[in-house]
């Protein structure tokens, strides 16, 4: 439902008593309210929905997710997986993870 797009905070200022920011989306600049992410700093990324920043994007968490996914890619490469079909090696030692 909720279209929220990640962008970079490039400026923080106050408007009518509210903490606001200019958010950069690949060069398009849009205004968003930062009241719900009071600790956000310039240079950090946030997801903005209907003009409100709702969460600070955590680069460490993102990196951990990617590390897990890259490991999957590496494992697949090691076992010679057919990218669109079943793996060539036995799948038994894969299904029990997590």
């Amino acid at each position: 439902m909720c279209l929220a797009v990640p962008g970079k905070v490039v400026e923080i200022f106050e408007e009518h008593g509210m903490r606001m920011g200019h958010i950069d989306y690949a060069g398009a600049l849009s205004k968003a309210c930062l009241e719900y992410v009071p600790e956000i700093r310039v240079g950090e990324y946030t997801v903005v929905h209907a003009g409100f920043a709702l969460s600070i994007l955590d680069e460490k968490e993102a990196a951990e997710s990617f590390a897990a996914w890259r490991e999957l890619q590496a494992a697949a490469a090691r076992e010679g997986v057919d990218l669109f079909g079943r793996p060539l090696a036995a799948a038994d030692d894969r299904g029990e993870q997590s």
Partner: protein, 395 residues
């Protein structure tokens, strides 16, 4: 100037904002005459226009086989002025482009204005300067015009109509119905620029700075395309076996095709450039869809080939809009025979308006009448046209 009373009319460079267009400016009055002579005509510096006859009588002799192209378009954009241009540039470039898409060299334009009572003269001046400037840049003459003023509320500030005449070289015919399986589809540059520029000017959409429109006259680029395709390959005839019609062969020069047939005749073989279109309202999706239907072929495009400028992409993401459906005013789509595609692409990239030209897809037999998008992931999605103008969404 006899009977000129300063209090009745302002200098073409009005000193104050309170100088506005009045109903009297549109009638056959002295005020109207002064408006035309002092505000409209000087910017164009055209000998035919300056005669201010009821019609423009023009030298337009055609060599054997050449034909006239004639088109009209009206412009009602709001806001009138935006980064990258204004209604003035749109009115000139839009009509030039309609001519250019048919392979015509644009020659003459008419300019008809419908102005709302109360419209500031200073803004009218700006619009006219934009029209004159765009026409000058394009090397096209505005030779005749008309001005009407309507009561407040009867139109929205200013509406412009331009009609254009151009000359089509002998033997050249382009048509959306000429696409054939195997043809390549080329776009001249980034898509969605104009529509997102207008959207970003809208109040209430939280943009800090508006994006820039891409309005441009494409007649030089279209000529480059036709020349490059004509030079490639032998006679420039389509090589696809079993093409439509019995096909007259050989009599025509490179780059040429038989003219569109009269009703009852079998259709000619298309030349190496099948069709060109500028994807205005409805964007690239609308034009590809029209061409697929007209030619009864399928069109397949690749998502990761579509060129989209960073800020346009960002703007589309936050508004939930798809650049495929967003208007362009300075881009064209060219469908060309496959053996000419690389030559055409190279020639386009040599031209300032085609630096980012890229092949985005091809024509196919499957799914006739439909446009298929191959997603970056390897999925396929049929592109259907939205019911109305694409609106921003938050869901």
């Amino acid at each position: 100037m006899k009977d000129f009373k300063p209090e009745n009319f302002s200098c073409p460079r009005p000193a104050t904002d309170s100088e506005t267009v009045q109903l009297a400016h549109g009638g056959g009055s002295r005020l109207a005459a002064e408006l035309i002579e002092q505000v409209l005509v000087p910017g164009f510096n055209d000998p035919v226009l300056s005669r201010l006859e009821d019609q423009a009588t023009l030298d337009c002799s055609l060599a054997a086989g050449e034909r006239l192209a004639f088109t009209t378009d009206s412009f009602v954009v709001d806001p009138l002025f935006f980064p990258g241009g204004s209604i003035g540039e749109l009115a000139v470039n839009g009509t030039i482009n309609d001519l250019a898409m048919g392979g015509a060299t644009p020659l003459y334009l008419s300019l008809a204005l419908i102005i709302e009572e109360g419209f500031p003269l200073s803004e009218l001046q700006r619009v006219l300067q934009a029209v004159a400037g765009a026409a000058r840049s394009a090397g096209v003459r505005v030779v005749t015009g008309d001005t009407k003023v309507v009561g407040r509320g009867a139109c929205d500030k200013i509406f412009i109509n331009t009609s254009g005449i151009g000359r089509v070289p002998a033997g050249l015919a382009l048509s959306a119905a000429y696409l054939r399986p195997g043809d390549k589809i080329i776009v001249s540059g980034t898509i969605g620029d104009h529509g997102m520029a207008i959207m970003s000017c809208r109040e209430g959409l939280s943009f800090v700075e508006p994006l820039a429109s891409d309005t441009a006259a494409l007649h030089e680029l279209s000529a480059v395309i036709l020349a490059a395709a004509g030079g490639a390959g032998e006679s420039g005839r389509a090589e696809v076996p079993g093409g439509p019609g019995g096909a007259s062969e050989g009599a025509l020069g490179a780059g040429a095709a038989p003219a569109a047939p009269a009703p009852g005749e079998s259709p000619p073989e298309p030349g190496p450039v099948r069709a060109m279109r500028d994807p205005t309202r409805g964007g690239v999706a609308a034009v590809l869809s029209e061409m697929a239907k007209a030619s009864r072929v399928g069109v397949s495009i690749e998502e990761d080939k579509l060129p989209v400028a960073g800020p346009v992409r960002g703007a589309c993401e936050i508004l939930g809009m798809d650049p495929l459906f967003v208007a362009n005013e300075g881009k064209l789509l060219a469908v060309v025979a496959p053996e000419t595609a690389e030559a055409v692409l190279a020639a386009m990239r040599d031209h300032p308006l085609g630096r980012q030209a890229v092949i985005i897809g091809e024509v196919q037999r499957e799914n006739p009448g439909l446009v298929t998008l191959c997603t970056a992931l390897g999925g396929r999605r049929l592109i259907d046209l939205p019911a109305g103008e694409q609106l921003p969404r938050i869901c």
